[in-house]
């Protein structure tokens, strides 16, 4: 690697370290309320993303497409290959118990 690239890499590493330190310091300065609000914010964002994903699955019928093209063919192949007992071997005397 050339000298310039080495110097650039070192500088970037130093900058990243400085930013991380600054972020830690900012977090330490936050009030508990702020932390709770940020947590709720992240939770809300997660729920919103999940809601949007569910709505996308619903609206574009992704559940139906998955079941039709993936799940059902796999299961049908399994059922077709299953070993089954032959009902014609069932005895035909009276079951008295």
């Amino acid at each position: 690697m050339s000298v310039k690239k080495r110097i650039l890499k070192a500088a970037l590493r130093k900058e990243a370290k400085r930013l991380r330190k600054a972020r830690r310091a900012r977090r330490a300065r936050r009030s508990p309320l702020c932390r709770v609000l940020r947590l709720f914010g992240k939770l809300f964002a997660l729920l919103a993303a999940a809601y949007a994903a569910l709505f996308a699955v619903f609206f574009f019928d992704l559940d139906g497409k998955l079941l039709y093209y993936v799940v059902e063919p796999l299961l049908v192949r399994h059922y077709d290959r299953m070993e089954r007992k032959n009902p014609l071997e069932m005895p035909y005397e009276m079951k008295s118990e």
Partner: protein
Amino acid sequence: MKLSAIKLPKPSDLTGTLRAVAALFPDPRDVKLPKNRKEARKAAKDFWYGKPHGERRLGDLYCEKTGLYKHREWRGVKDTFYYFHMIWLYNYANMVMDIMKFGSPVTFVKGLWRYRWMGQTYLPVLHWFDRGLEGMRGPALRASAWHYRAMTCVTINQFMNMFEADGNLRNGAHNDAWHHAMAHKETVWGGIFYPWMDKFKHIPLEMIPYFVTCHVNNHTVLNYIDAAQSLGLPGDPCPMCQAEAGIFVLDDVPDYAPFLVTSNEACDGSVASTAIQDWFWNRPLFAMPQPMQFDDPLVQEHCANEIRECWKFIEEQTGVPFNWELLKENLEKQNELMRFEWEKWDVDAKTGSYPINGVAQALYRIYQSQYGEHFIWHFVDGKVNKIMTRCVEKKIDTFPKTRHRVIAWSCAPLYYSNWCTWAYNCWGLNTVINMDSLMFDMTIRTDTLDHCVEDMARYHEWAPMRRMAVGGMHHIFELWDYMERFRCDMVMMYDQLQCKGMQGVVGLFEDEFRKRNIHAIWMPHALPDKRTVSRAEIRRIINDYMTTVMKEEPLDPSLLEFDDDMSW
């Protein structure tokens, strides 16, 4: 493994695959942006309220052949989000909760892995909702969806009960649940088992493996019909009974109960299929046949005796005596359901505010009345009552595009039970009532045991497909009275090609239709077997009648012709 052994798909194969996947989704090129303020206002209105009936083009939503949707219908903000929350999410969540409530997820997975009818049919159940509720809005959407919810709950209850008791899932071992289960033919009314309902579960034998599968995924049953015919059975007997025998031939019946109660409901076919079921299931069986021509008062005592004999058999098998109080209690709950059903018919007959579509009305009624008492029927009736009361009070026209009030008569096609939804969306044919709904049209007295048994005997004689289809000509001709009562101007005459009972009266009906100048469309079908008369053929027959005889234009031309040959 060497890198050189990995075969990458050719670019042309990938292109084909991508095209096929793209065809499953809406084409962004089809989205038309508004060009001016007027169009923008219209687009905003359509977004908020949903497109008016004539502009919906529901047929364009289908993926070719599969019946899947490129995207689900946009019904306006309110109804789309209602569908998303209260139908799609609600039912998925409740299905999971029901599985946990009625058994364990492990048993469910074992059952799913073991039985074709489980894995192939019941996973896509929400699509069954979609098909039945296409185009529905407002109270009609809500009330009809509640009916579907009830049927789903009872279905889950039944198969979880089967799996919890199933010896096949336990290497042949019979647990306590097995010893406390009572198996019966699906056409035996569940009320027979009310006196033992505190300690025992009655579980119909074929309702879940066969009957409900036909509505949800019409491919599953074809395996069973073919299996029955592989034994040498000819193709002309009723395919319902063939399928009922076929689930045994394919070893797809859970081993969940120590005895079986059968019947000759609805007709000869049930008797005949019992012979095969009896052989393959190989356990004590009680046959409880009821007379078909039941108007003769001399047969009533015989019918009542059959019920008493059945109770004796159950006592012998279970070792638990008959409980009159329990029978009374459950019959009174069932009578409540019947009284509400009469209220619904009243609203249906006298107003335009009946909020339940044809398919929900038919399936819910036959399921509820045949299966018997279950808590979910009361829960759902409560919800529907609220919706219906509001519709009547506010005079809401629940099916505003109704051009014809249709009564559907005879045995319905199970693989296309949602034809009524299509017919309303395409032609404005509102199927307000059907023959199977009008069965079991009575309450049962609980003042004394003798009166109770007398009414139970009559109840059996009035069973679905029994009273009208084989009970005698004057019963099948009750159609005219019901047409008048429900203000119907059109008849959808189901023509089950393998039903010997109904085929004998085809000519009589045609004469009467001509004499009375009634518009009647004959819909041929083979009950659960979609191969004999396809859904497309059924639609073509209705289209032909509506264009050539009624000379009407379709409300939604995109629904006239589409290929759903491989759909569920």
